[in-house]
Symmetry: none
Subunit: 192 residues, 4 copies
DNA sequence: GATGAATGAGGCTTCATTCAT
DNA sequence: CATGAATGAAGCCTCATTCAT
């Protein structure tokens, strides 16, 4: 029933923690191995090389985030509610799993992220991107501002990113009330 | 009147270009030296080590950006106009100097950025932060939403960051019309 | 009647192919195991370690070559005919089994080969070396040049080795006519 | 006046000795560095990587051998004398520099050798190959057997190779008398 | 001051061998 | 007997920094 062996999970977890905390270059394979409690060579049974470990870990996190977002998503509600829900869920997910946020951030801001970005632009990303869908529908229904979809996305997601950073370093505290205020501010930004 | 020798400037420029393009780990000191047309050891006459070179370069860029922003800043205008002006200027500055943007981004997303952020929170940053001033005044005048200053900042600056990324990779084209639309969307986000 | 199990043969065959093609260092035990269709640990049931596998494989090939050479060997014929026969048989054997040639070559040109050579000099090699016998008889009968036996051997076998190399890489084509010419040239070299 | 720095020569000499004695895989870069009395990284100032060090060393040795061969070469003498001279010189050179022989042997019997061989066949080797010239002229003058040039070469050079091996391991002693006998035997092999 | 050759610690990866299942 | 996951020593290479010239 377990698809992944224990050692593989241990490696993934160790890599997640180290990379999230110290970045790709602050996380040598030897240290990942040590933290995972496995031999250095063991990592290579599961991941061809460090790049693939990094990419694979990104994919796993993305899948989890997407799943969390889709779970309970109010498909039938109006656009505004769906947008607010999605934003709040992403906030909550990352607040619950701050390492995931830090990892995704590292990944996004790295040569890997470039490829990712390009693929996403070209629609190669396989997952149903909820925010993008919302923005596209919003354009059709003329509920949102007449700005390119990707611009709307950047406004919402860029805000979220910096706010998460501040939350994680303890500069602000993203409680439900604040999250509500923020997501509504974002809605004001994109709505017509 | 020149505080810094030519060689120092050459090093700084070479470091800027290499790091902006390839990141900190893609810019070995030897390569920076070569690009600057100086010996590898020479760098160490001006900068104690690589970390200090990186930090110093960041400070220089920040000073330039601040200067560009202050130049022509409409102090007397209402808050809204000042906000729109500031955002547009930052966009224009980074569009003119994409290497500066890329460098600042690298710096921000790195262990260095952590320190920077912490210091900024503690008010150690010496420069007069225009955006922050605007947000603080907006709070006093009750023109802006009742959100923490740093939250307002993140909404504006987070949006800007992602949009600049997309512009630099050529995914969107930030012409004046689009910039106007974006800055107004950001204003909608923060205004009461 | 089978002294060796099937798995042992599979390992030997896999090792032969891999080593012949890629050399000792291009043939990891894991890959040999995979090609043989057995577990990596299984190899160690039959061969204490890689060195022993390599040495053992060499012995097996040598036995086959000797057998092929002895089969049909014209014991009664004059020296010249026996020499020509032996040379031609070796050529034909290696042309039929190029992997065997390549393996022997690898073995000969390696630290293993040193030991082999030394042992052969000391007469430790158990097999009846036909060429050596011919040379020794030739010396007794004063049909061959007054050169040490091992020198005569080197002339014949050294020529053969390089020619086989050229044949295998496709630079020359060792057809029967050419083989006849070569073996007679070798005979001219050694005959008085 | 010194084209190569001392360190470079030290590295080359250390590499020559180690590789000649133990083969490419028995000569780790770290050990070469240690034997040369330099830091491990220093090697990489002179040679991009191990492959290039190996190839470069081969080129240097080949140049020396060619030079030794050409020095005193009796261009005006008949074919037979030139062949005997060339063979004897090669023997003498390798007897004087046994490490050179062992290195060339290693190189020849390795993936590097394959390329070398192919290039030589294609005439890409820049040096004036004396033996090959002799064989070609011999074919024209109908002094030599009607065998492909490369076959004549293999007979002479293959013999030489094995004999050098035996000499180096001390199995035979290649004194002038023996060398004369061998080279004449080789002449008998190739002459019509 | 300026240079750049030299250094060696440290990073990634391979692979012969072991051993629990 | 057979397996193959696990190990870790060892190999190649990079690069920040130093120092003799």
């Amino acid at each position: 029933m377990m698809k992944t062996s224990d050692k593989r999970s241990d490696v993934v977890q160790a890599a997640l923690e180290l990379i999230a905390e110290k970045g790709f270059h602050g996380a040598p394979m030897a240290e990942i191995a040590e933290k995972a409690g496995v031999g250095a060579g063991t990592i290579y049974r599961y991941f061809e090389n460090k790049d693939i470990l990094i990419t694979e870990l990104h994919k796993e996190l993305e899948a989890k985030i997407t799943a969390a977002l889709l779970d309970g998503y109010p498909v039938e509600q109006p656009l505004r509610e769906r947008f607010l829900y999605a934003m709040r869920e992403v906030f909550r997910y990352f607040i619950t799993y701050p390492l995931h946020f830090r990892y995704m951030e590292q990944y996004f801001n790295s040569p890997y992220g470039i490829t990712l970005h390009r693929d996403r632009l070209l629609g190669k990303s396989g997952d149903p991107d909820i925010l993008m869908d919302i923005f596209e529908q919003g354009a059709d229904q003329q509920v949102l501002k007449a700005l390119p979809t990707s611009v709307l996305f950047s406004i919402a997601f860029g805000s979220l990113t910096l706010l998460m950073r501040d939350h994680i370093i303890g500069f602000i505290s993203l409680d439900n009330h604040l999250i509500d205020g923020i997501t509504e501010a974002c809605w004001d930004a994109i709505k017509k």
